[in-house]
């Protein structure tokens, strides 16, 4: 995974730069997400990995699938990846692209897991507090996870703020050992 990131970084950086120049980051983001899901599809990955399928056929196939979802620049990007044999990097490129985009727009993606459904007011209050703690705007994805028993668990990139009952119980288990 970390090795793939090294390979994918220049592609993602180039794509992002271009997207910014043409102020089409949102569009690029959508197309890359789409392409990533295409590559993850089993039927496609078999074809991509097959050495008997030559580059022209592969790029024709890819462009065919993506028709209507991508613009001319995206098509060129696909052709480049096919030419360099790097189609399998697409999911990583999409991920890195999102990171660049988030950095550029000054927000971070935050996953919040709660034991119970948030009410609207608590959510708003919580968002404000979390933004203060992290010092950045956040995009919050909230999910309910009953296994937490109570409280919340926040994941912002590598950072984890564990305020759940489950986490505290685990902590206590270790302390009592």
């Amino acid at each position: 995974m970390s090795e793939l990131a090294t390979l994918a970084r220049p592609y993602a950086a180039a794509a992002f730069k271009r997207a910014k120049e043409t102020s089409a980051t949102d569009k690029w983001s959508l197309s890359l997400a789409f392409l990533a899901s295409v590559i993850k599809n089993e039927n496609i990955s078999v074809v991509v990995d097959n050495p008997k399928v030559n580059r022209q056929k592969l790029s024709a196939l890819m462009l065919d699938i993506c028709q209507g979802h991508v613009d001319i620049e995206n098509e060129n990007f696909i052709k480049l990846l096919v030419h360099n044999n790097r189609l399998d990097l697409l999911p990583t490129i999409a991920k890195l692209f999102e990171i660049y985009k988030a950095e550029d727009e000054g927000y971070i993606e935050v996953d919040v897991f709660t034991a119970f459904v948030f009410s609207k007011e608590t959510k708003q209050e919580f968002t404000i507090n979390l933004e203060k703690t992290l010092g950045k705007k956040i995009h919050m994805n909230v999910a309910v996870d009953k296994s937490l028993i109570g409280g919340i668990l926040v994941r912002a990139g590598d950072r984890v703020i564990d305020g759940s009952i489950k986490g505290r119980l685990q902590h206590m288990q270790k302390a009592l050992q």
């Binding site: 970390s2 090294t6 994941r155 590598d158 950072r159 986490g167 902590h171 302390a175």
Partner: protein, 513 residues
């Protein structure tokens, strides 16, 4: 340790009372790969170099390689239960080990956990394993001796408190024996000893522990064991662990002696870790920082002045200096001291005790090569009487070495040359000493005095050791006052000189050897 149920519930209650229930914030990563104790972790963007990382199952690791997308971590201990996708947490701390008086008499592993079956170690203090050595201002020059209890070493290659003296030699030349004798001789001197066993057989370590127990030397000794069966990471950190335990005593104004047995194996362990971390190999496949590996460790052995001790103890200890003396051991292959690690450590230390297998095999034990062994700072620290009497020994042996080749033609040689050869043979014989029988300053002084004053010249070469043993017995029973006086002051003056002379002369009259 048996506890009754009410005690257990009390204990648990206390722990729960003190339990901190705030939300925990940390940085997390996921395991990407596990290979031979090296784990690559994705994420952990805030990990620090050398930071302790927490794996599932109460396992810890140390971050050694910080790369763009991943962190290279060595697992400290077993790693079989770690799998791809496990979460790894930052702890925000450098690796720490327990330190304190409670460790004395115990055998611990490289992380400070007891492995001698004597229960938990009762100490609350911990210290990071990696510390920067004391600065220039904090130091004081070496001027007090550490008596190793071996005639040949204390007379010719003296070691001072705070010195780093290398013990170097091939396998089976008695390197560990010198170290063990040194520990035994510290009984009652107040010098605390730490013996760090790196990459040795468990049986050898058990042997050392047993011998120290037999001679009552475990009470002032800590043994840090990272045996050959333990992971390379543990063998690599064991010397730092021992050093931190020794620094605890140094920093509170006491004296400590640490033995690293041996640093060659530590360098091997570090080489393994480095190669698995994909650091580029250099000479003999060691990584580029193998010099720093040993220099930062040995720099921590030092003598610090009273002001520094006062500062470190918060004013509790005043007017006392602290010291940590290091005796690193290096094993050479076929006597080759120009290999990478031996040259490094020779250049770092303040002198070396050079042991040779041919001397060992010809019965000269300890097999010290007096010509190649040096002590660069110990002379200033030597006890006066030993310094005075030992100088002659060194000279006698040096002259003898030059002439030894002519020993076969003894009849053709002139009188003075023959005398020098004969003196040299007797002094060489006198320098032999049995294992586990360290000598006091007074005992050494008697033996050296007898050699210097020529009392041995009339004794047959193969009777020298018998003569010495009988002389020591005689001195102990007939002149204990003189001996105690020498042990107490360490001075050498006319009174002591004439006292020794009279005593030895009266002993020779008894002809009892």
């Amino acid at each position: 340790m048996q506890l009754n149920p009410s005690e257990i519930s009390d204990l648990i209650k206390k722990k729960i009372e003190n339990f901190d229930l705030s939300a925990e914030a940390h940085t997390e990563g996921t395991v990407v790969s596990v290979t031979d104790g090296i784990v690559r972790v994705h994420g952990l963007s805030e990990a620090m170099q050398g930071e302790m990382l927490e794996f599932p199952g109460n396992t810890f690791g140390m971050a050694l390689n910080l790369e763009r997308d991943s962190v290279g971590v060595v697992v400290l201990g077993p790693y079989q239960h770690i799998t791809e996708g496990d979460t790894v947490k930052c702890t925000g701390r450098i690796l720490e080990v327990p330190v304190g008086e409670a460790l004395l008499g115990r055998v611990v592993d490289a992380l400070g956990n007891p492995i001698d079956g004597k229960g938990a170690i009762n100490t609350t203090e911990t210290a990071p394993i990696e510390k920067i050595a004391p600065g220039v201002i904090a130091r004081q020059s070496v001027d007090q001796p550490v008596q190793l209890g071996l005639k040949s070493i204390d007379a010719m290659i003296p070691v001072g408190r705070g010195q780093r003296e290398l013990i170097i030699g091939d396998r089976q030349t008695g390197k560990t024996a010198i170290a063990i004798d040194a520990i035994i001789n510290q009984k009652g001197t107040g010098i605390k000893c730490i013996y760090v066993a790196i990459g040795q057989k468990r049986s050898s370590i058990a042997n050392v522990v047993r011998k120290l127990e037999e001679h009552g030397a475990m009470a002032h000794t800590i043994i840090v064991a990272a045996s050959a069966s333990e992971s390379a990471a543990l063998q690599f950190i064991a010397p730092y662990t021992g050093c931190s335990m020794g620094e605890f005593f140094r920093d509170k104004g006491e004296d400590a002696l640490i033995i690293y047995d041996d640093l060659t194996k530590q360098a091997w362990a570090y080489r393994q870790v480095s190669l698995l971390l994909r650091r580029p190999p250099g000479r003999e496949a060691y990584p580029g920082d193998v010099f720093y590996l040993h220099s930062r460790l040995l720099e921590r052995a030092s003598r610090i002045n009273a002001e520094e001790v006062e500062k470190l103890t918060g004013g509790k200890v005043k007017g006392k200096t602290g010291s940590l003396t290091a005796l690193p051991i290096i094993e050479t292959q076929g006597g080759d001291v120009s290999a990478f690690v031996p040259t490094n450590v020779i250049s770092i230390t303040d002198g070396q005790i050079f042991l040779e297998s041919n001397l060992f095999n010809s019965g000269i034990r300890p097999a010290v090569n007096a010509g190649l062994s040096v002590s660069r700072v110990g002379g200033a620290a030597q006890t006066k009487i030993i310094k005075k009497l030992g100088g002659g020994t060194r000279l006698d042996l040096a002259q003898y070495r030059e002439l030894a080749a002519f020993a076969q033609f003894a009849s053709d040689l002139d009188e003075s040359t023959r005398k020098q050869i004969e003196r040299g043979q007797r002094v060489t014989e006198l320098m032999k000493q049995n294992q586990y029988s360290p000598m006091s300053v007074a005992q050494m002084a008697v033996s050296l005095f007898a050699a210097n004053e020529g009392f041995l010249d009339t004794v047959e070469v193969n009777k020298v050791l018998d003569f010495e043993a009988a002389l020591q017995l005689y001195m102990k029973s007939e002149h204990s006052e003189l001996m105690n006086n020498i042990n107490a002051t360490g001075d050498f003056n006319n009174e002591i000189s004439s006292g020794l002379k009279a005593a030895i002369e009266s002993f020779i009259k008894t002809h009892s050897w």
